[in-house]
């Protein structure tokens, strides 16, 4: 019951989901739609589980008076605030509602700024790591420079062929390499899925009995 039963459930669910594409019978399709709803609902419950874990971690920090417990209060307060605004506001999803405003004016700016922060770190890492020592690294460096210049107006000002070269790099050698990688990734994903369905890959069960 501890290991074999979940593996059997995994096999049955995986097999059904894999073969339902080839059985256009209404009964099978109805069950497929029902199972899809179950999976989405399970995802929501799993997210809730993650939130409970987040609360436990920060509660633990506050309880044990950790040095940075003040930030745990910030996280818990923000979490409670959003839950309160979401559950106790009748039109939480409406544009302009406090729930939406918190998302638009707190979460969106912070996330966008964090991603834009990467521009500095990527540029700094590139400056330190990019050295045209071999043919391969020279190709990488040249392709990166051409693409960067070709995506901004200054590239066209330097030479009119830079945007054309950028387009060619993106649409020909880059596309060929990406297709090769994508085929490899696709085959890897399928192999992993099959290993999960057949019970060869069991990491999802975690340790213990």
């Amino acid at each position: 019951m501890r290991r074999q039963f979940p593996l059997a459930l995994c096999f049955i669910a995986g097999l059904f989901m894999a073969i339902q594409y080839f059985i256009p019978h209404p009964t099978v399709q109805n069950f497929y739609e029902r199972l899809l709803i179950w999976l989405q609902t399970l995802l929501a419950f799993a997210f809730l589980l993650g939130t409970v874990s987040l609360v436990r971690i920060h509660y633990h920090k506050i309880k044990h008076r950790a040095d940075d417990r003040g930030y745990s209060w910030v996280t818990l307060f923000a979490l409670c605030l959003m839950i309160g605004l979401g559950f106790f506001s009748s039109a939480h999803h409406a544009q302009g509602s406090p729930f939406d405003m918190m998302f638009q004016n707190v979460q969106v700016p912070i996330e966008a700024t964090m991603f834009s922060l990467l521009a500095f770190y990527v540029a700094s890492a590139a400056f330190r790591a990019f050295r045209a020592r071999t043919l391969e690294s020279t190709l990488l460096l040249v392709a990166a420079c051409i693409v960067m210049l070709g995506r901004v107006p200054i590239g066209d000002m330097i030479h009119s062929s830079i945007p054309t070269a950028t387009r060619w790099i993106l649409e020909v050698p880059n596309l060929a390499a990406k297709r090769g990688i994508m085929i490899g990734v696709g085959l890897g994903m399928m192999a992993t899925s099959l290993k999960i369905i057949l019970g060869i890959e069991r990491a999802w069960m975690g340790g213990g009995d």
Binding site: M1, R2, R3, F5, L9, I12, A13, L15, M17, A18, L36, L39, T41, L42, L43, A44, F45, L48, L49, T51, Y71, V74, T75, A78, C80, M82, H92, F99, M102, V106, Q107, V108, I110, T113, S116, L117, A119, V122, V142, A143, A144, I146, V147, M148, R151, V152, I169, V172, P173, L175, A176, A177, R179, G180, I183, G184, M190, S193, W204, D209
Partner: protein, 211 residues
């Protein structure tokens, strides 16, 4: 007035995150912890109202499935109860003695999505890519695409030693891969820079009205 307050909050948080460029500091940590709480709360509400409420709570307790009124103990009621019970089983992880029961839900979830992804992955990531690259050798571009794809695949083919023709093809593959990685890098940097321009634009235009 409300807009000014919200814009100021957004601007202060933007500056707090940028303060990390100097060094790790309380302003950055505040923004970091704030966004964790806000996004966890946001997605919890969204997931609840999009999945748990319509698929479990409404049918089981309010006896409604969409616009349809359902009876207590009917087949629809039972079918709605199952994902709720499976979802609750996940929480047995908090009780070490019965934590293994949570694997039942996890098994259905992992297996279901593994099976679901098989055919679309084969279609989108393998067959479509091969058919898009099956081009007539009528132009230099087509030749480059075919040679580039074959070279890249050869480079990742480790069942034989990369010697002779295989070695040459693998070498061609490396050249294409390096150009591809360079292009991806350049593209990523520029997308991050455009985000940076967006944030600076927000500070100077929307907040300070300097532009």
């Amino acid at each position: 007035m409300g807009t000014i307050i919200w814009t100021t909050i957004g601007a202060v948080l933007t500056l707090s995150v940028y303060s990390f460029l100097y060094k790790d500091n309380p302003f950055y940590k505040f923004a970091e912890h704030l966004v964790v709480g806000i996004s966890a709360g946001y997605y919890l509400v969204i997931y609840y109202f999009n999945f748990i409420q319509p698929n479990v709570v409404a049918p089981v307790f309010l006896l409604r499935f969409g616009d349809e009124v359902i009876g207590f103990g009917s087949s629809t009621w039972w079918l709605a109860l199952i994902p709720g019970l499976l979802g609750l089983l996940l929480y047995t992880r908090f009780f070490p003695k019965v934590g293994w029961i949570g694997r039942w839900s996890l098994g259905i979830y992992v297996g279901g999505y593994a099976g679901l992804s098989l055919s679309p992955t084969m279609q989108a990531r393998v067959l479509n890519q091969i058919s898009a690259n099956a081009l007539p050798l009528t132009s230099v571009t087509n030749v480059f695409l075919i040679v580039g794809l074959l070279g890249t695949l050869t480079y990742f083919f480790f069942s034989m030693k990369h010697k002779g023709v295989l070695g040459v093809m693998a070498r061609v593959g490396i050249v294409f891969l390096m150009v591809g990685f360079g292009a991806s890098f350049g593209y990523t940097v520029m997308s991050r820079v455009s985000l940076l321009i967006g944030r600076v634009g927000f500070l100077l235009q929307d907040w300070l009205h300097l532009l």
